[in-house]
Symmetry: C2
Subunit: 177 residues, 2 copies
Amino acid sequence: MDITQFVAGSIGQWKSQRSAHHMIFGHFEAVRSEIEIVALTLDDPAAIALCQAYDLDPSQAVMPFRMSWEGESDWDESEVLKGSTVLVPIPDPNLPNRGRLLRDRGYAETIPAAAHYHITEDGVFVLITEYDRAAAEERIWFVNPNLRFRVSTIKTSDGSGVVTASFSSELRAMTTT
Amino acid sequence: MDITQFVAGSIGQWKSQRSAHHMIFGHFEAVRSEIEIVALTLDDPAAIALCQAYDLDPSQAVMPFRMSWEGESDWDESEVLKGSTVLVPIPDPNLPNRGRLLRDRGYAETIPAAAHYHITEDGVFVLITEYDRAAAEERIWFVNPNLRFRVSTIKTSDGSGVVTASFSSELRAMTTT
């Protein structure tokens, strides 16, 4: 599994169930959402602009994509969780299955964030994002071509404490023909 | 990470939050439980009996342990989920970080089950148990010495469908001194 295969397998529409465990108080949160992942071309203006924002050469990019989501949490059913982000993988030219993943907004904060990824021998895509006061780690893998799992942790930036752990099961939405 | 280190790191008391995703109907289930993992000696009668039940030489066993749990689900708060099982790792003499894990009852069914484990280069303990009509896969890893994650899937035995996916975060219970 390399980054090209990983992104190619992710293109499509997904129904997500996400459970968050808020560790300090032992709270559970349940989120249902629809996720759409769309491939962008290498000359897509949003992908090029993102590379330029990080002072990176757009020719280093592979498989840029846009991810959009819309869902609701059982903590506040009146609030719609909705968003969209452009993501651009930049493989490391020297290290196999490692690189950076640029995006135009982070998951945990709304400032632009550069994340580092690697893909394990076991086929798990691991993404680590450092923020000012927190770090996020995501582990994403395919159970089969139509089911992805995603385990996310938000840690304090010194790495000592895990604040939130969450698990998503993402099932490919059946296309209606 | 080898089986000895994995079991040694697991000994103790844990507070578990478990979220199950019942995939077909998109249901969420939340389970809170206390888990206790106690080391057994190699000459423990329960460990020896378990080896004998599988026609295996008890001298092949390493780090037998007993796991007990007590908890409740938000699906039926009147029902107490409670149980205890003896587990005996039997490393494969020829393959590093692979072997069998004997136990005196399975998670998904109550018949004795022999499971196969391996530990990935990434330190994930992967356990696969085949039942008559289903297969269970568990992936367990340490985020830090006091926090374990566990992702479990129950599949139909032909491997085609995932029926249930669940995620546990297991936080080491603070000892009162």
